[in-house]
Subunit: 405 residues, 2 copies
Amino acid sequence: MAAIDIKALGARAETMISALAPISSEPGRLIRLFLSPEHRRAADMTAQWMRDAGMQVSEDALGTLRGRVGEGRRLLIGSHLDSVIDAGNYDGPLGVIAGILAVEHFKGRPPVPIDVLAFGDEEGSRFPSTLSTSAAVAGVFEEETLGLSDRNGVTYGDALRKYGKNPADIPKAAYRRGEAAAYVELHIEQGPRLEAANEPLGIVTGIVGQSRWRVIVTGMAGHAGTVPMDLRRDALAGSAEMVLAAERIGRAHEGMVATVGIVDARPGAGNIIPGRVMFTVDLRCMDDATRKAAVAEFEDKARDIAKARKLEVTFEHFHDVSATVCDAGLQDTLAAAIGDLGHRAIRMPSGAGHDGQMMAKLCPAAMMFVRCRDGISHNPAEYASPDDMGTAIAALIRFIGRFRT
Amino acid sequence: MAAIDIKALGARAETMISALAPISSEPGRLIRLFLSPEHRRAADMTAQWMRDAGMQVSEDALGTLRGRVGEGRRLLIGSHLDSVIDAGNYDGPLGVIAGILAVEHFKGRPPVPIDVLAFGDEEGSRFPSTLSTSAAVAGVFEEETLGLSDRNGVTYGDALRKYGKNPADIPKAAYRRGEAAAYVELHIEQGPRLEAANEPLGIVTGIVGQSRWRVIVTGMAGHAGTVPMDLRRDALAGSAEMVLAAERIGRAHEGMVATVGIVDARPGAGNIIPGRVMFTVDLRCMDDATRKAAVAEFEDKARDIAKARKLEVTFEHFHDVSATVCDAGLQDTLAAAIGDLGHRAIRMPSGAGHDGQMMAKLCPAAMMFVRCRDGISHNPAEYASPDDMGTAIAALIRFIGRFRT
């Protein structure tokens, strides 16, 4: 095996990231939606890189690119090419590029057969769906997805046909059982833990489960000047206590996060006491039982707060996803590969969703995180240094060297 | 003096309130803006009632009606005919009707000369001005007001001309010093204290001073799943603490109220930690020094909260009005009049602004509050019972009987 030149790998990755970056539906900011002309252009560029690295390239019925080397039971490496609106350049493409550069490192003859996969619809920015292309590859695509519409009224099925695909071919996207030995994904961390730990690489222990719900607090609107404090039923003051309760619950459990991202107070005039407030809670945790207990704990607290303030409170749950555990053996192999480079492997759950969630339904799956600046993602300021990207790809190469199908 | 028939007075008041109620720019809800065709119709109906009660009626350059009985130094009784948008029927008209029915009780020959005044622009619903017509009557009208525009781009000056008035005549609206002995206004409470005290009438000790400002809290937006709790700089959680601090300060001082009525969290997505929050605080108190100290106390607390959470906080003050103290002698005379009817006079500050604020710049001023259901005002559900209105008008009649110019 050739010596690994981390600097050179990082520079190659940065060049490829920069080549994909301008492929956007809007000049000046990155918008690369699933099945859009920009998706097509990004896939075409990526397919060429795959061929240049010695891979045979095909594309499935949902537009997922597959670059293949070797025959038989194989290692899958992938991530996505689509983006959020006003995105950064690293979220997704880095994982695809890493697979291509690893295969290139082995001059197209890696020690194990490899498929590099370039998914779409990971971000769910176009249709009210997400991870649908990795779902198809894992054999768990849901037919109903075809009927979903984007904001212009175009259905998923029509967009597919316009992209030159036939929905009837979707089942063929799935791997046969036994064909896929494992799935590995490399992704920017999208959080600040690696930066805080001063390490470039992390190993994902699992992808958190998630509960999301709306809280509706009803009190009594009133004149800000004429209703004395002790006679108020202020829906916003009560909500403020509940927001802090959600934060306390998030803090109280290791690895849990709780976020209130939306708040809407009505009637919303500076001189009127709010009579009705809606806010959202997003609570995530690796342990499903702990998550469910935390949701119940929040609701109990919120009811207590409401009762003490003579408010009413109701809850509307709209999202509930179980946790995905990453394969322990793959995690250890990744850790050994990172150790080969003289780095400490920081183990952490992923708070964001990833294609790995779907791929874990097909075969053992694992993920490696790459440090990103200030933990920022889904933002033009998103950034991973060439050195960190080079180190990550070097670790992937070491992993491939150690991996046995 | 004839016996006072409270039932009959209440029934008359209710009939007159009901006659004014449909005079609106929109069927089905009450919108009666200053200098609108509806203002004209309401003023014409009111002028006829004044004449029927034996008054000589005139109208000043801002459309304020003046119904006069007797000669020389006089008692002024008034309130306003304009409304907020989607208003109740009692806020304003009750005070005008009470003056008319009191004069009628004395068959047009009250023991003291009286002017009943029907103002406009008390609510500030059309132009970004308020109390401008009582300001003119008090001789403190501000010229700049004429240049203010309503939401259709019509200036105050143009609206006046369209109403048939000449802005050059505004100075003539002012009373000469010595001509006005006192001003008394009867108004629904717009709060729940009288209901809580089980009494129909209150005496206003003064109109509170008011500070209003925006608080801008800046943290760091981030992914709700990937940023651990201990590394967050959540602008909304910090704001929640500040909202509760404002509430605690309002509760800690007798007669003070503090309200957060608007909150705006950005970017405002359920799965993103808010990076920037703006909220308003409205703080009112009878004592100006206490109010200013409370504003400073809030800002200190907010800075402490921001510091502990690594947030930034700034304050934008946009409204600051000093308190108006009601005349002590008039308050005592009102209390005696209320006592004549066997009721307890509840003394309380007014948290809302009133024409009395401006009239206090002209002469001793006082106000009587009438119980309203659930403390609701500025709302179609606003309601004062005929019995309570009758009792209030009876107290006003007793007050006139006791009043010496």
